[in-house]
Symmetry: C2
Subunit: 313 residues, 2 copies
């Protein structure tokens, strides 16, 4: 039996939580730790040092020379170190050149990406660039593609010749959470939300067919459908989810076409449950994703460590 040797400690270090991976040279995740030590929950250098020690200390004792790399909000102005954004177009080499180390550490933090054409408002990502690099590392057909990463702040990314050339963030997941918890729409909703594909697709269809009525208007239907009894209260959250994702797809698919990507592959990258939801909605638009990938952050961290020559094999 051949034991795979670890090549990298990689950390996907977001705002509210982190996941640390012990990664082999062929991209396999040998071990994994998760912790509720998100960048926004920590303050000051020593808090970050302690969190790093907690999730990766044991690995570092065992493998003292292993390179250490992190991506995500840990590199933001409210994180450990404000790592300057790399501007589009940004590929693995550009990102590797932008790695920065907090003082007195050997941790390298991946920069986020800035999209700013000077005409539209700027857009930013931190963490998703690494997932995109990971997707590209294993799927050569995505070198010219549209990569969609659903989430709290979904990203629609135009990849050309293996680099991120532009992207657009949609704050769909956050809108869902905020409206459910804090708006009048949440008041009729039940605490438990049974999966309800019919109600979800009814919301998607409303956005697809009547989105020109405007999201601020269509959102109110979540209430009026409940008040008038036309949709059971238990189905309202799924309708809201469908409506919001539908508006994201409506705009995102038109953006994709506007950038001549309609004939390039469309990939979904993210948590399987969420990707399933997006794929269902994409099918309702008649434009299913060509590829659906689970967590590609470990592969991206490894590819960036290679691009930075932290790993030479």
């Amino acid at each position: 039996m051949v034991t795979r040797q670890p090549a990298l400690v990689g950390i996907d270090w977001g705002s509210t939580s982190l996941r640390a991976y012990l990664i082999s040279a062929d991209g396999a995740v040998l071990e994994e730790h998760a912790a509720a030590k998100g960048a926004s929950t920590l303050q000051g250098h020593s808090a970050f040092v302690a969190a790093l020690q907690e999730v990766a200390g044991a690995w570092r004792e065992q493998h003292a020379t292993l390179p250490l790399q992190a991506c995500g909000m840990v590199g933001s102005q409210h994180g450990w170190l404000d790592v300057p954004y790399v501007r589009c177009p940004a590929g693995a080499a550009d990102l590797a050149a932008g790695l920065r180390q907090p003082d007195d550490t050997n941790l390298r933090i991946v920069p986020g990406v800035l999209c700013d054409d000077g005409k539209l408002p700027p857009d930013v990502m931190r963490g998703e660039e690494t997932q995109i690099v990971g997707a590209l590392a294993h799927h050569a057909e995505l070198a010219d593609s549209c990569v969609v990463l659903p989430g709290t702040h979904s990203k629609w990314t135009h990849v050309a010749q293996g680099r991120i050339v532009r992207f657009a963030t949609h704050m769909t997941g956050e809108l869902y959470a905020v409206l459910r918890q804090h708006s009048v729409l949440g008041r009729l909703m039940t605490p438990e939300v049974p999966t309800d594909a019919d109600a979800f697709l009814r919301g998607v269809g409303a956005a697809r067919d009547h989105g020109n009525l405007g999201l601020p208007h269509q959102l109110f239907a979540v209430r009026s459908l409940g008040v008038t009894g036309q949709l059971p209260h238990a189905a309202l959250a799924e309708y809201l989810s469908g409506l919001l994702i539908g508006h994201e797809l409506r705009a995102g698919l038109s953006w994709r076409t506007g950038h001549a990507l309609a004939n390039k592959p469309l990939a979904l990258v993210g948590a399987p449950q969420l990707c399933d939801r997006y794929q269902l909605a994409l099918c309702h638009f008649g434009q299913p994703a060509d590829l659906v990938l689970d967590n590609t952050a470990p592969a991206g961290l490894l590819a960036l460590a290679r691009a930075a020559q932290l790993i030479s094999y």
Copy 2:
């Protein structure tokens, strides 16, 4: 000197507050009381009786035979009495026929209006129908028009031959409040928001010119403009307000054209500060309102009391 005689006690009884008016036969407000006794803050018949006594008791002692009428959320399922909606088309006579009295009172509550064509999701209003009736009572030119009532839940109303034939709610004001208080967008904002017409119109313009990029995407620019320093943090709330109102106007003006109302008068009815904001945005779209009216609820309550023959002079 002739003293005007009171003809009606009218109450605009919303979710969070109420305003009571002593109204003369020519529509003048002789006296006014406001109280934080909104329908959603009261529970049970006796709480409503006590609130009514508090705001109108003195008037009723002085003028025992005066009719009493209320509009707004007091007539909802979470109010005093669930008064059934009147269906579109709804004019003063239809609304007067739908007045309902809570047991053992002589208070008449105005019904809300239901818009339901069986194709699109239904829509509902409670309170705004009375303001529309009030606007029509004094402005004959609005008999065929588009009446817009900005607010937490803005209403765009198609009036034909003096009746509400259809309407669309936009939850613009609530979106603004919820996103400012509970989303990532609020985090960069300053507690004080100085009026900033430039930032407001920049948001309106973004919706007007690039609204096809989608509201879930354009909202994220409120953050990225702040993070990149392209808009001062003190200006972000005004940009958000402009973006949301801009999306409402984009959809509302297209709805207006779709219902052949482009050549009919456009009226704004509501609080002057909010109407100013909407008029500024409408001008940015090149389609200013023809008429801007302050609070028309007292006039509407009086007109409905007349239509119900509670007042015969």
